[in-house]
């Protein structure tokens, strides 16, 4: 019994991508980045597996208006990632707002800005 318990605990601790609240690990465009090329999608990669049905991404233009984006897309190779397509960005500073729910039901949210020259 004790061995089984130890196994389950070890499994929890060992597997880094299944449980726990999701922290943003990488993003493209990156937080605070400045670029001259308009992105065609926003990619976000977290440190936990996501429930994509409960995730949301919103992009705001320099005046605070909401930029139209595509639907949330799974990344087949990565249960921790999501992407949304985006077109027609002109120069200015944009804000990316995201809200995700990890597999254990914990919700986290965040935002960051990037600049297009």
């Amino acid at each position: 019994m004790f061995r089984h318990l130890l196994f389950v605990v070890a499994l929890w601790l060992w597997h880094p991508g299944l449980w726990a609240h999701a922290f943003l690990e990488r993003a493209a465009p990156a937080p605070g980045s400045v670029s001259s090329q308009a992105p065609t999608e926003i990619q976000l990669a977290f440190d936990s597996a996501l429930e994509h049905a409960f995730c949301g991404v919103r992009v705001e233009d320099p005046s605070g208006g909401v930029v139209e984006t595509g639907e949330i897309q799974h990344v087949p190779s990565d249960p921790n990632g999501l992407s949304v397509s985006i077109v027609g960005l002109t120069s200015g500073t944009y804000k990316v707002r995201w809200s995700v729910v990890s597999r254990d039901g914990h919700q986290t949210e965040g935002d960051y800005r990037f600049t297009l020259q």
């Binding site: 991508g17 937080p31 980045s33 597999r103 914990h106």
Partner: protein, 340 residues
């Protein structure tokens, strides 16, 4: 970090897939829950010396080691305390806690060390206010040290001490973008009282001549107060500017804690003791680790530097469907950018 490469190194290995399948089978349908220590996008780590301004499901182990100054006839003592605390949410914004400690005391000039448990501590905390947009938290708490449950040889008091307190936390993420390098900063703090239920304790001791003597110890009422200044490098990377910090730096929170206690009883009115604790916390997925130096602020606290070490378990992440969730109710939220 480029638009093409962000997911490329995240493909799970086959062994990882198997583990995901096994553990995934144990998972329940997710219920949106706000995790511990968050106000909006701000994550507040659990600090070592100052009580946190939020409620959570957690287990914390702290080791404190410092040479305490002598007082009266008592010599300076090298004190090591291992303190454990478990906190459990009953409602989403209300938690109770149970704590205990084991003390090792090594007085200067005495051959025998003293060991034993400290008193049990029970507490309750209510998270009154949370502002996701302003990254602000406010909580009130009440803790009681249950006198007589510990070993008097290990300096456990005989009387009960009641400690009401107010806790706050504030992230600076709502500052203007031009101050981007300041936005990862956060402050937390507390202000409270420590009120003994007995003003004095009478202790019977055997004197050098073999006779029983009465010693009277004053039990002063004190104010506990302090604050922390934290710089969250994960916040910097994720919400402000990706400066390319490598692991484990991208999960570090350098911080300074100031932990103080001021006497307000007649015989010691205004006397303050405390330490300033510079240190660092590493945030893992299920645990956090912390270490701090304890630097005495004045003679009353001594003149030797000690240390604090922390092993902290996020029970809500480790057991999200059982012990790690409130017994009654569940927090549900919409993102702060939808409710502003």
């Amino acid at each position: 970090m480029t638009a093409q490469s962000v997911f490329l190194d995240r493909r799970p290995a086959p062994r990882r897939r198997r583990a995901a399948t096994i553990v995934g089978a144990l998972a329940l349908v997710p219920l949106c829950a706000w995790p511990h220590g968050f106000a909006g996008k701000r994550f507040f780590p659990s600090t070592l010396a100052i009580e946190d301004p939020f409620v959570n499901d957690e287990f914390s182990l702290i080791v404190a080691h410092i040479k305490e100054p002598g007082e009266g006839d008592e010599p300076p003592t090298l004190a090591t305390e291992i303190e454990a605390e478990y906190a459990k949410t009953i409602f989403p914004n209300f938690a109770i806690s149970l704590g205990g400690s084991y003390n090792h005391l090594d007085p200067d000039g005495e051959e025998d060390d003293r060991n034993g448990p400290g008193n049990l501590e029970v507490g309750a905390k209510y998270q009154v206010f949370t502002s996701p947009y302003h990254e602000a938290l406010l909580a009130i708490g009440l803790e009681a040290e249950v006198g007589g449950t510990g070993d008097r040889d290990a300096e456990a008091d005989e009387h009960v001490t009641i400690s009401p307190a107010l806790f706050f936390g504030k992230g600076l993420g709502d500052l203007p973008e031009s101050l981007w390098y300041v936005r990862p900063f956060a402050l937390t703090g507390f202000f409270g009282g420590n009120v003994p239920t007995e003003g004095r304790t009478v202790v019977l001791a055997v004197g050098e001549d073999g006779e029983v003597e009465e010693e009277i110890e004053d039990n002063p009422t004190t104010l506990g107060w302090g604050f922390t200044v934290q710089y969250n490098l994960n916040y910097l990377e994720s919400h402000v500017r990706d400066v390319g910090l490598p692991a484990p730096l991208d999960r570090m929170v350098p911080l300074v804690e100031l932990a103080l206690e001021t006497c307000i009883s007649d015989d010691c009115d205004g006397e303050t003791a405390g330490t300033v604790n510079p240190g660092i916390i590493w945030l893992g997925k299920y645990i956090q680790l912390g270490i701090e130096a304890q630097i005495p602020l004045n003679d009353r606290t001594g003149d030797n530097v000690g240390f604090l070490a922390q092993f902290h378990v996020f029970v809500d992440d480790l057991m999200p469907s059982s012990l790690g969730r409130p017994i009654f109710g569940q927090k549900t939220h919409r993102p702060s950018w939808q409710v502003r």
